[in-house]
Symmetry: C2
Subunit: 198 residues, 2 copies
């Protein structure tokens, strides 16, 4: 059997990704096996390899969709705070990032998984790059009359810091515990990072 009129090529790809995301978010990345996914969409493992080339290929496409959702969430939160101060928008985008990670724990962890054996596809870097342009915009607003390169440095430094705090809470790999939530830490970071700018 082949090219069963059930699904076009694109439909099949979409279907596979949707089911994979469902499994991963519920049960974590370890539950994502070729046989299980194939079985749940009514195909066989070989078909997955026709579409994605490898499991890593599938993972990268899943991550692209997660990044897309994250990007929309982030810029949405900034828009909502459009009438507030730049500081309000910083807080909004920060909390938005934190909430997204908490609500999509397994998918968020997948974004930073280090055990892929294949290199990411070419389009992957741009997806990452585009994620935090809203943050750059806010920071450019706060630190006006500053070189573009410095804005980039500040934005990345701030985001990496937030990410570290988030990573700590989500994975429990660092010395967190004892009533210290990521929210308290991000508040503290904002205070110190943007403190002199008021």
């Amino acid at each position: 059997m082949a090219r069963r009129n059930d699904h076009s090529r694109d439909e099949l790809k979409t279907l596979t990704l949707a089911q994979s995301l469902k499994i991963a978010e519920k049960e974590g990345m370890a539950a994502l096996t070729a046989r299980r996914i194939a079985n749940e969409i009514g195909y066989t493992p070989g078909t997955l390899y026709n579409i994605f080339g490898s499991m890593d290929g599938l993972y990268y496409e899943m991550n692209a969709l997660t990044m897309q959702r994250l990007a929309e969430t982030l810029s949405g939160s900034v828009q909502k705070a459009a009438s507030g101060t730049p500081r309000d928008r910083i807080k909004a985008i920060t909390n938005s990032y934190l909430n997204f990670a908490r609500k999509n724990k397994h998918l968020w962890i997948m974004l930073f998984n280090t055990s892929f054996e294949h290199e990411p596809p070419d389009w992957y870097a741009e997806k990452i790059e585009g994620l935090f342009s809203p943050l750059e915009a806010i920071i450019a607003e706060i630190f006006s009359k500053i070189p573009k390169q410095k804005i980039k440095l500040l934005a990345r430094t701030y985001w990496a810091s937030i990410h570290g705090i988030c990573y700590l809470e989500i994975t429990r790999k660092g010395p967190l515990r004892k009533n210290l939530t990521a929210g308290e830490m991000t508040d503290e970071l904002i205070e110190r990072f943007f403190g002199q700018t008021d």
Copy 2:
């Protein structure tokens, strides 16, 4: 054959860990298979399970040793800068962390691996906790006359931020590229985080 006089229980454990660390640092965690390790120390996979219970058990013990080395490196760097200002010591411990991660890339990544299926042993949390007491001491010095709880918050916030920056550079999972090194970012973070304290 059993209990071959070749090695005592402890020697065998040490030997296994040493060889595992060697493999992991050279070729990454994916190269760490039970059969390969066993083969390279002249035993069989079953023996590894007698000692460590599971592969995760081995990983956790490897990580404990890596943390030990890291802890010594960090406090060593602080001692070297003992005659300088607190800010000098912050810079020293930060660079020390960054350098350790760069020089022990694979082992450092292993510390933050999220794919363990077994829970960490009880003693594991303390090992993590103990890692950054030197940092707390310095921060307590900088922010004198501040509640102990606030010191802890500041220390963890700062460390998580550094960790995020480091994670970004090492794993290349975030928007780094374009001449932006982790060193520039940590310098910027120190500037903003401890800026008002001079």
